[in-house]
Symmetry: C2
Subunit: 216 residues, 2 copies
DNA sequence: ACCTTTGTAAACCGAGGGGTTCACATGTGA
DNA sequence: TCACATGTGAACCCCTCGGTTTACAAAGGT
């Protein structure tokens, strides 16, 4: 037991990987169980780490919670910006472009299981930790808002859509695309199929085009 | 101490009012603190009742929780139906009627503090107690859905709106009316003023009329 | 070789909370 | 008047959990 075990998976000791293992386990359990139901011992066990090490890295349960959620939010922001740059590129046909955008928005952001769980956690604990809500607002919605605004502006400038107020248009697009699916997924349990995503997307885009379509 | 005290407010003992006092205190604290953070002793104190009495009425913490939330949901259903009958009556002008409907919908249902807290609770604990989510779906959304469907159908039949699919139209109307406000209020903290409600209402209705207006 | 750093495993402490019991009080009905 | 049902309040048991301490083990640099 003192020789070669635990060599390939570097769990010897003295590595900052411990910290990351703790963070991974912590966010997973916090997000699944909520703050109060989560035990520090459980996190330590899940991370394959002693309680002592955990308390060395993060001072106490609350600081662990705040740190790990905020770290998750910033890593999330990176996901947002890269995805926005990737998938929201130039589109020839407005309808096709909006559908691609909507599909990606719903599938990658709205329904991604970890993001759903994170939103649930923030809604649940937000009243107790307002700073987290503030961080969420900055990283998530605002990023998407500006990215989509940019897209819609481009479509407007090219004369493919008629959008007097881009800000409002983004609100309406997100509402039409996300509202139903968001409700289903937040209250949970019922899984959402790919066909559902496709339906929500097309339906939302068509409603949006009913308002802003070149037809006017 | 054995004569006339506690006559008007019947808190002597031996009354089922105790049960109601417990229920009131319980739902208030559960909704504010969540299940795990709530202590049975706290509920008993808030209700002005001994723990023993509480355990006599409701067997244990979990049964208290489930019972009291489900009772709240059914009492909620009554609120829904009466409000639907009251405020969603016949409307002469579609825009004015929809605005009145929207204002009431947002103000009375979406933003009512107790309903917000209840939705938060259901989102937070839904994964642990699916039965509650099911009860919520039955009492809340479905009631509103059918009530509003009826209203829109009437407007369609009178030729004031052009609505090919009423089901979809209700989804879109609720999305346009509620999405933004719902997000703001669920993540919490930021209060929503009456002016905000008015803005959300008018904006949502106008967007809806952009899709379904007689103009086509 | 030695000491420091980083880690583990387990025991331990104190607080809080779910749930029960006990001794006692007070209205109600026969 | 006496039993009974209902309720009180406080003590109590036991477990979980946050957080600490102790004893020990393995690098790794000098």
């Amino acid at each position: 037991m003192l020789d070669g075990t635990e060599r390939d998976a570097p769990s010897g000791h003295g590595w900052p990987e411990k910290r990351q293992a703790i963070a991974r386990a912590a966010i997973e359990i916090f997000v699944r169980e909520g703050f109060a139901r989560t035990s520090v011992a459980g996190i330590a066990a899940e991370a394959g780490v002693s309680k002592r090490t955990l308390y060395k890295h993060y001072g106490d349960k609350e600081r662990l919670f705040l740190t790990v959620v905020e770290e998750t939010l910033t890593s999330l922001r990176d996901r947002f910006v890269t995805a926005a740059k990737d998938h929201l590129g130039d589109v020839p046909d407005p309808r096709a472009g909006l559908i691609a955008l909507g599909r990606d928005w719903i599938g990658s952001f709205l329904l991604a299981p970890d993001l759903v769980a994170l939103r649930r956690l923030l809604i649940a604990e937000g009243a107790h930790y307002p700073q987290l809500v503030e961080a969420w607002r900055r990283t998530g919605p605002d990023m998407i808002q500006t990215a989509v605004e940019e897209q819609l502006s481009r479509l407007h400038e090219r004369g493919l859509l008629c959008i007097p107020d881009v800000r409002v248009a983004v609100d309406r697009l997100s509402a039409l695309l996300l509202y139903t699916a968001n409700n289903r997924v937040l209250f949970g349990i019922v899984p959402i199929s790919d066909e559902d995503v496709e339906r929500y997307t097309i339906d939302g885009v068509d409603a949006f085009l009913g308002i802003y379509g070149p037809r006017a």
